[in-house]
C-alpha cells in the first residue's frame, strides 16, 4: 500500500517536473532577447563570425526539438551544455548543488525553527504585547530586501545561509501563529484547560499536535521561498551555488541551464510538498479520501 502510494507520487513528481521543464523552456523562448548574444555588439568581429554566433543561438529556436534533444540527453545523463559558462550543465550542478542544498537546509530549518518557536511562545504566554518583538522582527525581515540582509551578514562576517533563514522566518511565524491561535480556541482545548491539564501539555498535545499537519504545508512553501531568496543572496555574496547559476542563466538566456534548474526546483518543491501531503493524509481519518 505504502509502496504503491510512493510509486504513484514519484511518477506524478517526475511527470510534473518534466512538464515544468517544457513550460519553462517555452517561457524562456517567448521572452525577449532569447537568441541574441552580446558578442554581436563586438565591433572587432567580422560579419562571418557574427553570422556564426547567430546560427549557434538559432539552433534552439524550435522549442519542441530542443526539448526532445534535452530529454534524450537526460536519459543518458547529459543535461546539456551551458553556453554562458562554456561547461557541461551536469558539471556545474555537481559543483554547486551541494552548496545550495546546505544553504537551503540551514535557511529552511533555521527559518522554520525560529518562526515556530516565536509562534509557540506567543501562544504560550498570550499576554498583551508579547508578540510585539516577533512582530517587529518579522516586519523588519519582510521590509528589508534579501540583498540588504545578505550585505549585512557579509559586513558582520556571518555566513550568508542564515540570511535565507531571516527571509523564511516571517512567513513561517505569521502563518504558524495564526494557525496555533485558531487551534487554541477550539472547544477541545477549552475542555482540556477546564480539566486542569498543565499549560505545556495543552500547548503540545492539544494545540501544536492537531495543527501540525497544516503546519507541514509550510515546508513546501519554505523551500520555494528559500530557493527564491537564495538567488539574490548568492549573487550578492558571490556564493557559487545554484541560485547564482540561475541568475546568470536568466541574464544570458542559457536555455539548457534554465531548463535543468527549472526541473530541479520543480522536483525539490514537489518532493517536499508531497511529503507534507502524506503527513496531512496520515492525520486524516480513514473515511476521508487520501491524497494520491
Amino acid at each position: 500500500m505504502l509502496a504503491s502510494l510512493l510509486l504513484r507520487q514519484a511518477r506524478r513528481i517526475l511527470l510534473t517536473a518534466l512538464l515544468g521543464g517544457l513550460l519553462g523552456a517555452t517561457l524562456v523562448r517567448l521572452g525577449p532577447g532569447f537568441d541574441v548574444d552580446e558578442r554581436e555588439l563586438d565591433s572587432r568581429l567580422s560579419a562571418d563570425s557574427q553570422q556564426a554566433i547567430r546560427a549557434e543561438r538559432a539552433r534552439d529556436n524550435n522549442i519542441a526539438s530542443f526539448y526532445f534533444r534535452y530529454l534524450v540527453g537526460l536519459v543518458h545523463g547529459d543535461l546539456g551544455f551551458s553556453r554562458s559558462l562554456n561547461r557541461p550543465v551536469s558539471e556545474l550542478l555537481k559543483e554547486r548543488l551541494p552548496l545550495t542544498l546546505v544553504s537551503l537546509a540551514y535557511g529552511v530549518l533555521g527559518g522554520v525553527s525560529v518562526g515556530l518557536t516565536f509562534a509557540l511562545l506567543t501562544v504560550w504566554w498570550r499576554a498583551p504585547g508579547v508578540d510585539v518583538v516577533p512582530a517587529v522582527l518579522s516586519g523588519l525581515c519582510l521590509a528589508a530586501p534579501a540583498a540588504v540582509i545578505a550585505l549585512l551578514f557579509l559586513w558582520m562576517g556571518a555566513a550568508s545561509r542564515w540570511a535565507i533563514a531571516l527571509v523564511v522566518f516571517p512567513h513561517v511565524y505569521r502563518y504558524a501563529k495564526n494557525q496555533l491561535v485558531a487551534t487554541s480556541q477550539s472547544p477541545h482545548v477549552v475542555a482540556a484547560q477546564a480539566k486542569g491539564l498543565s499549560g505545556w501539555r495543552v500547548l503540545w498535545a492539544h494545540v501544536f499536535t492537531p495543527a501540525a499537519p497544516q503546519l507541514a504545508a509550510l515546508a513546501g512553501i519554505s523551500v520555494s521561498l528559500a530557493f527564491g531568496a537564495s538567488i539574490p543572496i548568492e549573487v550578492i555574496c558571490d556564493t557559487p551555488g545554484v541560485g547564482q547559476l540561475a541568475w546568470r542563466a536568466a541574464l544570458d538566456r542559457d536555455l539548457p541551464l534554465l531548463v535543468t534548474i527549472t526541473v530541479l526546483v520543480a522536483v525539490m518543491t514537489l518532493v517536499v510538498n508531497s511529503m507534507a501531503d502524506l503527513a496531512l493524509a496520515a492525520w486524516r481519518s480513514p473515511s476521508e479520501s487520501t491524497v494520491a
Binding site: 521572452g31 540583498a147 480556541q185 486524516r284 491524497v291
Partner: protein
C-alpha cells in the same frame, strides 16, 4: 476595535493622506533636480536631504508611498483572492480535482515567471507612461504571486472541510457552491489575512528587484522599492542614516496592517 488598532488606523490614515496630498505637502516635485545640492544632508530646505541627483528625498518618499501603498496592497489582494479560489477549491473538492490543482500549483511555483514579465515589458510600447508601466507590473505580480498562498490555503481548507458546522450545513441541503462561498471561505479568513499581510511587503520588494531587469517603476517616478535598493550601498547608509526612511516607513506600515488585520480572537465560529 482595540486602542492599538485605532492607533494603527490613524498612522495608516496619516500616511495615505500625506501621500495623496504630496503635491501640497512636499516642498518640491519628486523629479526636480537641485544640481547644486547633490546628496545633501537634511535641512530646513530638504527635510530628508537629497539623493545622488539632487532630488528631494522627502518628496520622493511621499510620492513613492502613493505608488507602493496603493499598488502593493491591490496586488496582494488579487493574489490572495486567486489563491483563495484555487487553494480553497483544491482542498474543498478533494480527490482527483485536488491532485490536479495541487500539481498545477506546484508546477506554477517552479516556473521561471521572470520571462513572462520580460515578455510583457517587451510587448508594452516604449513610450508607456511610468504609471501605466508600474500598474501593469503590480498587476502581473498579483497574477503570479498566488501559488505559495494557495498551498497554505489548501491545507487549511482540508482541515475545515470535515468540521461539524460544515457537515451540518451540508446535511441541511445547502448546495456545494453556497457551502464553499458562505461557510468555508469566510472561515479561511485568518489564513487569508496572514497571506495578504505578508504579500504586501513582498510585492514592494519584488518590484524593487525587478528594477534590476528593467521592470517596475521607471524614472523619474519613485517607489519604496527603488528607494530601498539604495540601502545596498551600506557604507553610504552608515554615513547618511536618513536613507533608512523608506525602510522605517515600510516597517511601520506593515506593522500597522498587521495590527489592523488581527482577527485571531474571532477566528472560528462554534
Amino acid at each position: 476595535m482595540t486602542r492599538k488598532q485605532k492607533f494603527a488606523l490613524v498612522i495608516l490614515g496619516v500616511t495615505v493622506v500625506a501621500s495623496l496630498g504630496a503635491a501640497y505637502i512636499a516642498p518640491s516635485s519628486y523629479s526636480e533636480q537641485f544640481r547644486d545640492a547633490i546628496s545633501a544632508p537634511p535641512s530646513s530646505r530638504f527635510w530628508l536631504g537629497t539623493d545622488e541627483l539632487g532630488r528631494d528625498r522627502f518628496a520622493r518618499l511621499l510620492y513613492g508611498t502613493r505608488v507602493s501603498l496603493l499598488l502593493a496592497p491591490a496586488a496582494a489582494l488579487l493574489s490572495t483572492l486567486i489563491a483563495a479560489l484555487i487553494g480553497g477549491a483544491a482542498g474543498y473538492l478533494g480527490g482527483r480535482w485536488e491532485r490536479v490543482l495541487t500539481a498545477g500549483v506546484d508546477l506554477f511555483l517552479s516556473l521561471p515567471w521572470l520571462f513572462l514579465l520580460l515578455a510583457v515589458r517587451a510587448l508594452l510600447p516604449l513610450n508607456t507612461s511610468p504609471v501605466t508601466s508600474v500598474m501593469i507590473t503590480f498587476l502581473l505580480l498579483g497574477c503570479l504571486g498566488w501559488a505559495a498562498p494557495a498551498r497554505m490555503i489548501r491545507a487549511g481548507t482540508r482541515t475545515l472541510v470535515n468540521s461539524d458546522y460544515l457537515v451540518q450545513a451540508s446535511a441541511s441541503g445547502i448546495s456545494r457552491w453556497r457551502l464553499f462561498w458562505r461557510h468555508l471561505l469566510p472561515n479561511l479568513r485568518p489564513i487569508l489575512l496572514a497571506q495578504f499581510w505578508i504579500s504586501v511587503p513582498l510585492f514592494i520588494l519584488s518590484e524593487a528587484n525587478l528594477g534590476l531587469l528593467g521592470l517596475g517603476v521607471s524614472e523619474p517616478l519613485p517607489s519604496w522599492g527603488v528607494m530601498l535598493r539604495e540601502l545596498e550601498n551600506y557604507s553610504a547608509v552608515l554615513q547618511n542614516p536618513w536613507m533608512l526612511a523608506p525602510a522605517i516607513l515600510l516597517v511601520v506600515v506593515v506593522s500597522c496592517l498587521q495590527l489592523l488585520l488581527r482577527t485571531e480572537e474571532s477566528a472560528f465560529p462554534c
